[in-house]
Point group: C4
Chain length 208, copies 4
């Protein structure tokens, strides 16, 4: 009877996707909530207002990186869920853990914005990315081993998903290491890797 | 005519699921909003930053418990909705009440985080879990009695859903009682029960 | 060509429903964000904590009323959308205006909580409910006149939807008027009407 | 293999729509979060409360404009997605960039509310609208060139979508220019254009 309960629990990929879209949407919008309008009493002219907005640019940098991070992992999760015939309890919990880590992204972004010169803050941000990758990797292992993948999915796709996560995480880890020299070097490298994934998949496929 | 109005109202399980996913996504992300980045003026070095982050660990503990709570009840609600042929007005209102209680979880979590040594705070948190269970139980009674369940759902499933809620609530109540000794003992017990439900359903089924 | 653009714009009832579910979910959860945990420095014992929580009860009252308000109008909107064959541009904009008014509910709730003895605050809250009803009424007029309703919807359903909105708004207006005597009388009357709509549709149908 | 990965990534228009609905719902509701209830200690009578609420009216104006902005672009995006047979990676990233700009709308609205007499704030708001239009335009180019559009979509529709965006952006740019004279003139002009798009498409089609 317990077994039959487990059989009905957590097998709707559609609702998992809906919960994920909600959490991603929320996390993306929360990033902006931390962007504060300059206080009215400090501004006395148009140029002052523009200068105050320009002073927000480090915030803008980390925020841009986080939108890329969330966009990439939203895409990555979607690519996996699209290949699934059905879910199960284990897979659902891996994705809840994944979404838990997604919901931390606004916090790590804020931490990195406030302490942009501290390697410790950058390592925290990178650890967040690492956990995102780890849970997506785990999710795909769980799906392939549990027979949840659509039967018409070719084996190369399955391998491509695995390899893609590992290569990307390798590059992110290298980027994080650059913080020994300069945290901005790390951020620049990670953003470039992300832009490459987002906008130039063909270029990357030649490297991969 | 009124009767026919009631016939068309509240019978879309899909929209109920969509509203639920939105509220769960929101509640899960709100937990993180309460996690504050340490103030910039208090931090002067990397080790200080890491110490300040480590000081957030009791917050992390209650937060982790709440993600488990929300994950478990999201799963529980989904398992029920999956078995429904259609909804009706009564069922819809039970679920709105359920979602109302879901939306309180970030508040109880915050309360428990701020007053983690107060048994009163733990009892509030437990009461929140109790209400979640009560409404899910009520929802299933309403569905089975109202003939809303899919006809191919075996009777054992129906009994398993009932029993699962009752056993789990019994364990949570026992955990809450432990706060007479120590609130951390309560939290540890509740988290262990939750982890067991989430990750080791087979182990549990041997106990149940 | 413009005409053909208008023909493709705004005709997806599904996406309108999804946007609505998001906004309702958000508005319901926002109500709780305004519920503040008592400050740690003011509390020195368990009984003090419970007293501080009990002091939140007027907040709880208005909040409960708003959950009922949102639940009722979510149901009402859903009942309408379920009857639609398709949407069009006009209907979409009526619903965006409706959702705009939905998003104000947390604000009016907060206003009423903070100024619970002021008839002016209660009138603002009632005006919010009135606008919700007005847009739903407008939406149904637009749907029936624009031929957007499913052809198998009997004419009595259509009349029942109209009458239901008018009768309910009449009762809410009467409740709001009671604030001349006491704002709590208004709140009590409105909550009773809402509970009646939510939980005892059969009783109401005998009155209606 | 990389190519096959790209083939499966980002091709679900449904999930893109769900993410969009979440972000639009969130952005619309966030507008209201910035609307603060007058502080209790400053209010001593009903008329004072009404005066304090009336003092919020410039906030109301910019907020109303932003609801129109979000409503128009939600409709515009929906009209495009409805015409798509499938998505691809490039289209998905254009829409993530679009949603990124959507999530900035509450920030620009706040900026304009706080600095309503500063042309610089109005230009920022207009730039936000411009970016929304630019990404929607880019999205449609990407869809038509990438063969993602449903085969039964007539060529006039495709041209109408392009022209509509260009004409509207031309009008918004003209409105923004009016801020040389007065920022309120700009806001009034932009709101009129938006109302025209929202409620009187036939009138506009005679002009277009």
């Amino acid at each position: 009877m317990k077994t039959s309960y487990n059989r009905i629990a957590g097998n709707s990929v559609e609702r998992l996707a809906a919960l994920s879209d909600g959490i991603f949407a929320f996390a993306m919008t929360l990033l902006v909530v931390d962007l504060h309008v300059p206080p009215r009493e400090a501004i006395h002219s148009g140029p002052e207002l523009l200068r105050a907005l320009a002073a927000l640019s480090p915030q803008f940098l980390t925020w841009f990186m986080s939108v890329l991070t969330l966009g990439i992992f939203w895409n990555g999760q979607q690519a996996q869920l699209n290949q699934l015939e059905r879910g199960d309890r284990h897979l659902t919990w891996i994705h809840i853990a994944f979404l838990f880590v997604v919901s931390i992204v606004p916090f790590s972004t804020r931490l990195l914005t406030d302490f942009i010169n501290y390697p410790a803050a950058l390592i925290c941000y990178w650890f967040n990315i690492l956990m995102l990758g780890a849970f997506l990797y785990l999710s795909w292992r769980c799906a392939t081993r549990g027979g949840l993948v659509k039967t018409d999915t070719p084996i190369e796709i399955s391998k491509a998903i695995d390899r893609r996560i590992l290569v990307a995480q390798g590059l992110y880890a290298f980027g994080a290491l650059l913080c020994v020299f300069d945290t901005y070097a790390s951020i620049a490298f990670i953003v470039l890797v992300q832009l490459n994934y987002a906008f130039a998949p063909r270029t990357f496929s030649r490297l991969g």
